[in-house]
């Protein structure tokens, strides 16, 4: 049985996934990442439905959510998560290219836990991702019911 993944990365762009994983590798967190390619898939995963039916995934310690995605976008995923009891307290970090104010405002209105703009500079990007991973997966004490860090 594959070890349970504690980080849900929702990202439609392959290259971003690769860069994100490359960054997380430096924290040895790459293995704990499960990837959803769009919002719908992320929700299916979180609800153990669709192609994840029957999987006992458990709740991630953090969801790294891209904003702009096909089908269901990041804001919609966030909205649905905040409407449902078990998902309500799962930390969500927006990781996006958008610096638009409206996106920021909407995200915070929906109860996002953090909002990170992806820098063009890879080194900065990698640094940000590493820090996010480090903070949420290692430093932060997640709410009850979420997957604990393997000791």
């Amino acid at each position: 049985m594959a070890p349970l993944k504690r980080i849900l990365l929702v990202e439609d762009n392959d290259r971003d996934i690769e860069l994100t994983l490359a960054a997380l590798e430096e924290n040895n967190l790459a293995n704990e990442v499960v990837i959803a390619r769009d919002g719908a898939e992320a929700l299916d995963y979180l609800h153990s439905r669709g192609k994840f039916t029957g999987h006992a995934n458990g709740l991630p310690v953090v969801v790294l959510l891209d904003l702009k995605m096909p089908k269901v976008d990041g804001l919609e995923v966030l909205r649905q998560m905040r409407d449902e009891a078990p998902l309500k307290h799962v930390p969500v970090v927006m990781i996006t290219s958008s610096r638009e104010e409206q996106d920021l405002v909407k995200s915070y209105q929906l109860g996002v836990n953090a909002y990170v703009v992806k820098p063009v500079d890879f080194q900065q990007f990698a640094k940000s991702i590493k820090e996010i991973g480090f903070f949420w997966a290692i430093v932060n004490e997640p709410p009850p019911g979420v997957l604990k860090r393997r000791s």
């Binding site: 762009n13 860069l19 290219s97 958008s98 610096r99 638009e100 992806k118 063009v120 890879f122 990007f125």
Partner: protein, 732 residues
């Protein structure tokens, strides 16, 4: 009536006097007649006596003759001669006495020759006796000739006697008759005189009574009249003597003029006139005119006792006695000040409305609606129009004519509306088209006066142009809305574009940079210097591209986003910007000189962008200077505050100044000074949006000064700080 009574009385007196006179005359006449008659009566007897005496004289003469004849005694002859002499006197007397009696005169004429014959006969016998003696004489006597003569004489005298007796009787009867008439006349006259006298007394008494009553009434009337005049309060009514001195005074006079009767009676009436009128001799003029024409009326200013003036209507009437002698004047004065004021007010108000009527640009008219037999309004007539009427309608000489005459095709609804207003009195405001006049009107109409007059006042305005303009505005508005819609669409597209740019355009750059770094890592020293340089260039280009995109997004946002103005503490903003530039200022020596900065009413975020750009530039372009000098200050003004930032940096060539604020315009190569060429374009855009201006002054290598102005606001808060004292920021 009085005169008629007097006439009657006089007439009565005249009549009674005449009666008395007549009676007197009658008495006198009767008495005289009586005396005359009596005299004639007596006279008749005197005639008779004379007749008889004649008979005796003749007998005496005959007797004496006989005696002579017989005796021849001369004494008898003397007696006979005397008797004969007396007989001739007797005839004369008789003639005299019966002068007025023709019958007797005729008898006398018969008698006289008889007597003369008898006497002649006597004297013949005497002579016979004397000459022939007694015998002859006696024979002669015996012839009886004397006797016959004597008988004839006797007869004549007797006849005369009888006739004279008749006269006496007639005279006596006349006297009696006259005496009777006289008695009747005296009685009648006395009765008439007494009657008339009585009548006169009655008349006089009655007249006296009447006069007394009339006098009483007159007195009462006079008293009433005096009270009435005295108590009249609204009019000053008083009398002046012929020279103009006040004789009487009433309540109204006291009220209007302020003088009491004691104060004014006896004074000259010129006291009531203003000094200038007195000097102009108005008072005298008035009296002269009133005297000449009997009446003088005038309106003018008069003076009260307290010196205040009032507007009076004065009527002066000359009073004359029945003989036309001037007794004085009655002066009636009324205080018309209030009326004059209200008249003045009315006049002014009328004038105002007339002016309004004549000068308003709107057309105004008063019409009379004409109804047909079935009370349907079919036409209207213009009773009054104002000067603008023609301009507003194009109708000439409309006054007095009807609308149908002027515009036969005028729409029925106009008549209906005005007919409705005239019938119901409901005012109406409406807009309507008059096709024949080729105009559209905005109309306000209301009924004027009594309903039966069917008059409507109309205030109207030709709104054809404004209507067209309105339509045009509506069209333009629709266009504008369409354009606004398009603009909004464009804006949304632009937003979507920006969003897409910020999100999608940056992703590939990140990937380029990311994979360059990964490639470098992967190569792990296998790349030579050139290869590494290429990788650096690729990464740098990507970063630069990213910076450009970021700046462009900011620029776009500056233009689009809504401004949120507030009072911004300029000094705090500047300090904040300077401290955010610590990184850039590391290892630099910069002398900051910050003057007093007034607060600015602006969008804080945008103004921050402005200061960030300008201060950033100053820091950047003074990089070659050690120490760099940067001065920030403000020239406050009434209308606007001009902020400036001066540096001693590299400056620029003024001939390129116009390019300074353009997008992506740079005056320096990127190798010299990094930058995207967006910053100053942003500054300009923000300042323009705040209603201000930007400009720059510089000389190559001698530094540059950038100015921007912000319109002054009511509040003038000067940022507290080290005013005017140059201040040096720690340069890292």
């Amino acid at each position: 009536m009085k005169t008629s009574v007097e006439k009657k009385v006089v007439l009565g007196f005249v009549i009674s006097t005449c009666a008395l006179l007549g009676m007197g005359w009658l008495s006198y006449h009767t008495a005289t007649g009586l005396v005359a008659t009596e005299y004639q009566f007596t006279y008749a007897y005197k005639v008779i006596a004379t007749l008889e005496s004649g008979r005796a004289l003749l007998t005496d003469a005959e007797t004496a003759q006989r005696a002579y004849l017989l005796t021849g005694d001369p004494r008898f002859l003397a007696d006979c001669t005397n008797a004969q002499a007396e007989v001739s006197g007797w005839i004369d007397r008789l003639r005299k006495y019966t002068a007025g009696e023709p019958e007797q005169q005729r008898q006398l004429a018969r008698l006289e020759p008889l007597v003369a014959q008898r006497l002649a006969l006597l004297n013949d016998r005497i002579r016979l006796r004397q000459q022939k003696g007694l015998e002859a004489a006696a024979n002669a006597v015996a012839t009886r000739q004397g006797k016959d003569l004597m008988d004839q004489i006797e007869k004549c005298i007797s006849e005369m006697h009888v006739a004279e007796n008749k006269v006496a009787f007639a005279r006596q009867k006349e006297v009696f008759d006259n005496a009777f008439l006289t008695r009747i006349a005296i009685w009648g006259g006395t009765t008439l005189a007494c009657g008339l006298g009585l009548l006169a007394v009655v008349f006089i008494h009655r007249d006296l009574n009447r006069r007394r009553r009339a006098e009483e009434i007159l007195q009462q009337n006079e008293e009433r009249f005096r009270l009435m005049i005295g108590n009249v309060r609204d009019y000053a009514i008083f009398m002046l003597d012929p020279s103009g001195h006040v004789m009487t005074w009433n309540e109204g006079a006291q009220r209007i003029k302020g003088y009491t009767a004691d104060e004014i009676v006896g004074k000259h009436f010129s006291k009531f006139y203003p000094a200038e009128a007195v000097q102009a001799g108005l008072a005298e003029k008035i009296l002269t005119e009133a005297t000449a024409t009997g009446r003088y009326e005038q309106e003018g200013w008069r003076v009260r006792k307290d010196g205040s003036r009032f507007w009076a209507d004065v009527v002066i009437t000359a009073i004359r006695d029945p003989r036309g002698r001037l007794m004085g004047f009655v002066k009636v004065t009324r205080d018309l000040t209030e009326r004059r004021q209200s008249e003045e007010t009315l006049r002014q108000s009328e004038e105002r409305y007339r002016t309004l009527f004549d000068s308003i640009d709107e057309g105004f008219c008063i019409i009379q609606v004409i109804f047909d037999d079935r009370q349907k309004p079919v036409d209207y007539r213009f009773l009054e129009i104002n000067p603008s009427f023609e301009k507003q309608t194009g109708l000439r000489d409309a006054l007095g004519r009807t609308m149908r005459e002027l515009a036969p095709q005028h729409e029925a609804y106009w008549f209906e509306i005005y007919g409705h207003i005239a019938s119901t009195g409901e005012p109406r405001r409406f807009q309507n088209r008059a096709e024949q006049l080729g105009r559209t009107y905005d109309v306000y109409a209301f009924r004027l006066g009594a309903p039966e007059k069917r008059q409507v006042a109309i205030l109207f305005n030709d709104i054809t142009r404004s209507k067209e303009a309105e339509e045009q505005i509506t069209r333009l508005n629709a266009d504008l809305q369409r354009h606004a819609g398009q603009l909004e669409t464009t804006n949304k597209e632009l937003e979507a574009f920006s969003y897409s740019v910020s999100h999608d355009l940056r992703a590939p750059l990140r990937h380029i940079d990311g994979f360059v770094k990964l490639l470098d890592k992967q190569a792990n020293g296998h790349l030579d210097d050139r290869g590494r340089r290429y990788l650096d260039i690729i990464a740098d280009s990507a970063k630069r591209m990213g910076a450009l995109i970021d700046d462009l997004l900011v620029f776009s946002r500056m233009g689009r986003s809504e401004m949120r103005r507030s009072l911004v503490d300029s000094r705090a903003l500047v300090d904040e910007v300077i401290s955010s530039l610590q990184e850039e200022m590391r290892d630099r020596r910069i002398n900051w000189k910050i003057g007093p900065l007034p607060a600015a009413e602006a969008d804080a975020a945008m103004l921050r962008q402005v200061w960030a750009n300008l201060i950033g530039n100053a820091v950047k372009y003074t990089r070659p200077r050690d120490p760099a000098e940067i001065e920030i200050g403000c020239h406050p003004g009434a209308a606007e505050n001009v902020f400036f930032i001066r540096d001693n940096g590299v400056g620029f060539d003024m001939q390129y100044a116009h390019k300074l604020f353009g997008v992506f315009q740079r005056l320096h190569r990127a190798e010299e000074f990094e930058g995207t060429g967006i910053g100053l374009a942003n500054v300009q855009r923000v300042i323009h949006r705040h209603g201000g201006t930007v400009r720059a002054e510089s000389e190559l290598d001698k530094g540059a000064t950038f100015y921007f102005s912000l319109p002054q606001t009511d509040t003038d808060i000067t940022t507290k700080g080290n005013h005017g004292t140059p201040e040096t920021h720690p340069a890292g």
